[in-house]
Structures are given as structure tokens and as C-alpha cells.
């Protein structure tokens, strides 16, 4: 069931899986989405609609989120 106070964002974790659509509450921040996906903010860089952003940015309906795992310890 689609909730009216939710938005849909397209999420792609680079190198892991194909992009998928994720429904999150309105005013969700990037960091909230990362937590929902089990990603630690210290280990990733996030591109929001192609731009690298701070994790406190809020998401909007239709946004494209790319998550790049950069802390690999290698």
C-alpha cells in the first residue's frame, strides 16, 4: 500500500547490485536512508542526482542516490 507521506528514491550501491526503488518517509535525510540500508556513513560517499553531498541533505521524490563504498581498508 502506498502511503501519501512517502517518497520514492532510486538507489544504487556501486559495485553491488542493480539500482532499485526505495520508499522512505518525506523529509528523510541521506543518513537515514544509509541507516535503513545498513551502510555506515563513515565508509561511503553519496552522490545525490550526480552530486557528492553531505549526508544531512534531505531527499525528495524521484531523487537518484548513488552509494560508493570508499573505506575499504586496502
Amino acid at each position: 500500500m502506498i502511503k501519501l507521506d512517502e517518497i520514492t528514491v532510486k538507489v544504487k550501491i556501486i559495485g553491488q547490485r542493480a539500482a532499485r526503488e526505495v520508499r522512505v518517509p518525506q523529509k528523510t535525510r541521506v543518513v537515514d536512508l544509509l541507516n535503513q540500508l545498513g551502510q555506515n556513513r563513515e565508509t561511503v560517499v553519496v552522490r545525490l542526482n550526480g552530486k557528492i553531498v553531505a549526508e544531512e541533505e534531505r531527499l525528495a521524490d524521484g531523487n537518484s542516490v548513488e552509494i560508493l563504498q570508499v573505506v575499504t581498508g586496502g
Partner: protein
């Protein structure tokens, strides 16, 4: 939209431990400033010196190559790059061309030395032999010990005054924690921004020691530098557990990594009396420096029925 605390442009990073937001430009400038500060404060390189940088092709070493190239040009120093090809299928053959490409772009001489040529076996083969022989050591032990030895030999033979590695804040704090967990006092004592000269060893420097790993990655991405972001297939074990623990700690308590580092740096001068003095000798098997009769590389190789085949690195692939 979140704005940069300094210029008002869109923020690309929230540096939570400092309470500031940074845009792409201010972030790049900030990393460059920190790098230069570390170089100057700890006097890591003197004018006219020849610096050998260990470059894998990963984000840290490639970012460090770009930063050092600029710094060395200003300070009239010479920079050369050395890549160790450990022989890790599906990993190193992807990163090595990236190291080469960046070196070419910056006009830096690039040398490649390999486990196979020097030790007679790739790391993949060494790991298989170790499993078959049921030794107590994990892949990182073989790789770490042998890579350090090879880098030192390469830097020495290249006539380098300093051997730079791209260890970042995360690497250094992980090493501090690991040596605590293992109660390895002498290895703990050896950590720091630089390691003093001893016979047979090229002094090591770590210009990125005070830059968090994520910020090094952001620097490379924001500058559009081509880097390899793959994960070593042998990564795991206690190193990964400590890394994950520190990242959870930093998430919940920003600045934790810096605090671990600062505490260690404050304690280090007081540890000097507790570290046993030892005399440097030449390894009886390969001639490399060691505090024992046989160096750790040769000891590990002997346990696998291998030996250091090539005593000098004369067959450098010069690019």
C-alpha cells in the same frame, strides 16, 4: 540544500568532528592544507631529497602521489613511484594500470617489483602453500611483511632518501588498536608520522596520517582523479573487525579516531625507555636488515619451502 560553512556553496561533506560543512572546493583545499601542514610540521621531506612513494593504484596512494608531486615540485625534490605486484588475481592487475596511468600523467618515474620475481611465488600461491602446510599465519601477515621488505629494498636501490606510504588516519588508528589488542609493544612504538633511519632501512614517512580515509577518498573523487576502489580478496579477520569497530565508534562519537591518535602521540615519548634496544644486522639468507639472524620475510618463506630468489632488484620495469 546544505551550505559550506566557509563560502556558502552547496556542501559536499559534513566534517562532524570539526563541526563544519565543506563544499567541493573548500574540501579539496582543506585536504591539501592538512597535507602541507603534516609535511612541514614533522619535516617529512627536505629540499633536494629523492622520495620513493609506494603506489598501489588505490585511492590513498594515488591521492598521495598527486599531493606529493605538487609538493616535491615546489621543494625541488624528486619523486619516484614504486608498485609492488603481490600477485593477487582479479585485484592487482586492475589497480596496477591505474597507478601507471597516474604516474605517467604526473611525469613520475614508475617502477614495479613483484613477489613472483623476488620470492618465487605470487601471494595467491603463498596463501595456498600456507593453507596446505597449515601455518599459523594469515594472508595479511605474509603480504605485509614481504611487501614492506620489498618496498624498503626497492627504495634503497633507487637511492631514495625517504620512503613514503599513503597510510591515512584510519590505517594509523587501526594499527594502534591492533598492537594494543596483540600487546605488541615494539610494533606500537614504531608507529608515527615518520620512522627514524636505521642501517639498511630507508626512513619511512606517512604524509596522510592525519587525514581520515573518507576525506582522502573525497579528495580523489572531487578532483576527478582516477583511482581503484576494489577490495582485496584477502581482507578480513581482526583488521576488518577493528576497522568496523572504529567506524561505529566514529559514527556515534565523532572525533574518536583523532583522539586515539592524539593520545598515542602524547604517550609515545614516554614509551622510549620501555622499548628494548636492538642491534641491526644483515639477514644471513638475503642480506636485508633485521634485528635477528634471519629476517621475517625469509623466516616466513622458509616455513613454506620457498626462499628469496632475487637478492637485488635489478630487473625493475622502468616506465
Amino acid at each position: 540544500m546544505l551550505k559550506c560553512s566557509f563560502c556558502g556553496r552547496r556542501a559536499a561533506y559534513n566534517r562532524r568532528y570539526a563541526g563544519v560543512l565543506l563544499c567541493d572546493r573548500c574540501m579539496v583545499k582543506s585536504v591539501e592544507r592538512r597535507f602541507r601542514r603534516a609535511m612541514g610540521e614533522h619535516r617529512l621531506v627536505s629540499p633536494g631529497e629523492r622520495v620513493a612513494l609506494a603506489v598501489s593504484g588505490g585511492k590513498d596512494s594515488v591521492a598521495c602521489m598527486h599531493l606529493l608531486a605538487d609538493y616535491c615540485a615546489r621543494k625541488n625534490c624528486e619523486l619516484v613511484a614504486v608498485t609492488v605486484d603481490e600477485g593477487i588475481k582479479g585485484y592487482r592487475e586492475e589497480s596496477l594500470p591505474i597507478a601507471r596511468e597516474n604516474a605517467e600523467q604526473l611525469g613520475i618515474e614508475h617502477f614495479v617489483v613483484s613477489f613472483k620475481q623476488t620470492f618465487g611465488a605470487t601471494l595467491d600461491k603463498i596463501v595456498k602453500l600456507a593453507k596446505r602446510k597449515k601455518t599459523e599465519f594469515n594472508p595479511c601477515t605474509y603480504c605485509g611483511v614481504m611487501r614492506r621488505s620489498l618496498l624498503n629494498q626497492a627504495a634503497r636501490e633507487l637511492g631514495a632518501d625517504k620512503l613514503a606510504t599513503a597510510h591515512n588516519l584510519d590505517d594509523e588508528v587501526q594499527a594502534i588498536m591492533l598492537n594494543y589488542v596483540r600487546a605488541d609493544f615494539s610494533r606500537l612504538y614504531r608507529l608515527g608520522p615518520s620512522y627514524p633511519p636505521r642501517e639498511g632501512f630507508v626512513p619511512r614517512i606517512k604524509p596522510l596520517r592525519e587525514i581520515p580515509e573518507k576525506e582522502v577518498a573525497l579528495y580523489a573523487l572531487l578532483r576527478g582523479i582516477k583511482v581503484h576502489l576494489g577490495v582485496c580478496p584477502y581482507a578480513g579477520g581482526i583488521h576488518t573487525e577493528i576497522r568496523d569497530f572504529l567506524n561505529r565508534l566514529e559514527t556515534n562519537h565523532p572525533n574518536s579516531k583523532f583522539m586515539v591518535l592524539r593520545m598515542f602521540d602524547r604517550m609515545k615519548p614516554h614509551l622510549v625507555e620501555a622499548v628494548p634496544e636492538f642491534e641491526m644486522r644483515k639477514c644471513e639468507a638475503c642480506g636485508e636488515p633485521t634485528s635477528s639472524t634471519v629476517c621475517k620475510s625469509c623466516e616466513l618463506l622458509h616455513g613454506l619451502g620457498l626462499k628469496r630468489e632475487q637478492k637485488t632488484l635489478i630487473s625493475f620495469k622502468v616506465k
